[in-house]
């Protein structure tokens, strides 16, 4: 990974897409699309550029939402947005960004924490994830390949969204039979 990649990602905003994002309906389990692995996308294709803007717009209006994957708006594709910059658990963060066809390069230092999901509103679960993460992916529009290192909550958010892109929910990764909990508070 390079510092230039990290700076590039941090500098990215949805303004680069140069189109208005639409607020889409977030689908909930058991919608089968949430269990469907996404196809790779062409990051320069206008369809996916529009979806990138839509995901950011939908994330922005959803209270507490720090990431949204294509599956969550009903489309099985490898595309997601993240923004953990306002979250108290975030350490390293890169602001708002969208990645296409993201893949994990390195993952280490597992941590267990409780996760929720807009698509599974009634449960939370204890999930072990890498807290040091290197991910590579493409930016929508330009298709630039970026490889970025992150940690803590942004690493968790990235893994959660990348799981969505593979048709997996946090429920598929809970630590055991007593690791799923009814949600106590709704944002």
């Amino acid at each position: 990974m390079s510092e230039a990649d990290s700076d590039r990602l941090a500098a990215w905003t949805e303004a680069e897409l140069d189109l208005a994002g639409r607020v889409l309906e977030v689908v909930r389990a058991p919608d089968p699309v949430l269990a469907t692995a996404g196809a790779r996308v062409d990051p320069a294709d206008p369809v996916w550029v529009q979806l990138a803007a839509d995901l950011v717009a939908t994330m922005r209006v959803s209270p507490g939402c720090v990431g949204l994957a294509a599956q969550q708006v009903g489309i099985a594709a490898q595309l997601f947005c993240v923004d953990v910059s306002a979250h108290p658990k975030a350490r390293t963060h890169h602001g708002t960004f969208v990645l296409c066809n993201a893949e994990v390069v390195e993952a280490s230092r597992n941590d267990r924490a409780r996760e929720g999901c807009m698509s599974v509103p009634d449960f939370t679960g204890d999930v072990k994830r890498a807290s040091r993460l290197v991910v590579t992916g493409q930016l929508p529009g330009t298709g630039e390949q970026v490889t970025v290192a992150t940690d803590a909550f942004e690493a968790r958010a990235l893994q959660h969204e990348m799981d969505h892109c593979q048709g997996l929910l946090f429920l598929d990764r809970v630590a055991g039979a007593h690791a799923v909990h009814p949600r106590q508070t709704y944002l």
Binding site: A29, P30, D172, V174, A177, V180
Partner: protein, 178 residues
């Protein structure tokens, strides 16, 4: 000789059930060795294993039922007491797994999926199922016997889950040795 009893308390939930039950057991000098309690859609469910070790005199099932009679006085709780033998589950030498199943609710999901576990000689050691709206969720911890083909078991489970319209994930249970 130490005796072991399984005490089951089932019924309508209200504050103070555990306090009353354990107070009754403590009054007999019983020692609680293991317990589990949960709420199932607002219904209280608890099982305790308690031994007579430390009791001041002989204690039988009727003594325990009498000690817990205040719990059942309102008629909305049932208490059952039965003697059990102390049989810790021996280690199987196999492997431990976590199974997650989720999807649209319908009858037959649990039986279809856990049937494949049983066919493989697997033993479920913990199980939680939950229903929220249309979403049915099952999370189980299970042991597979030594030499079991985990990939084949996973494939069979996934096929059974697909047959009832849900998805399944089988992952090795992780234990951190510190």
């Amino acid at each position: 000789m130490t005796s072991l009893y399984a005490v089951t308390v089932l019924g309508h939930d209200r504050p103070g059930i555990i306090a009353a039950a354990t107070d009754g057991l403590a009054g007999l000098g019983l020692n609680i060795e293991d317990s589990t309690m949960t709420l199932l859609r607002g219904h209280f469910a608890m099982m305790l294993l308690c031994s007579t070790e430390g009791a001041s005199g002989p204690v039988g099932p009727r003594d325990i039922e009498q000690a817990l009679a205040p719990l059942t006085a309102d008629g909305d709780l049932d208490v059952a007491v039965r003697p059990v033998t102390d049989e810790p589950t021996p280690g199987t030498g196999g492997s431990s797994w976590v199974l997650t199943v989720h999807g649209g609710d319908r009858p037959g999901i649990v039986s279809a999926v856990v049937g494949e576990v049983a066919t493989a000689g697997g033993n479920i050691t913990d199980l939680t199922t939950r229903l929220a709206g249309d979403l049915y969720l099952l999370v189980a911890e299970l042991d597979l016997p030594a030499g079991a083909d985990a990939a084949a078991v996973e494939a069979a489970i996934k096929a059974a889950a697909h047959g009832v319209g849900v998805t399944a994930t089988l992952r090795a249970a992780e234990a951190d040795d510190l």
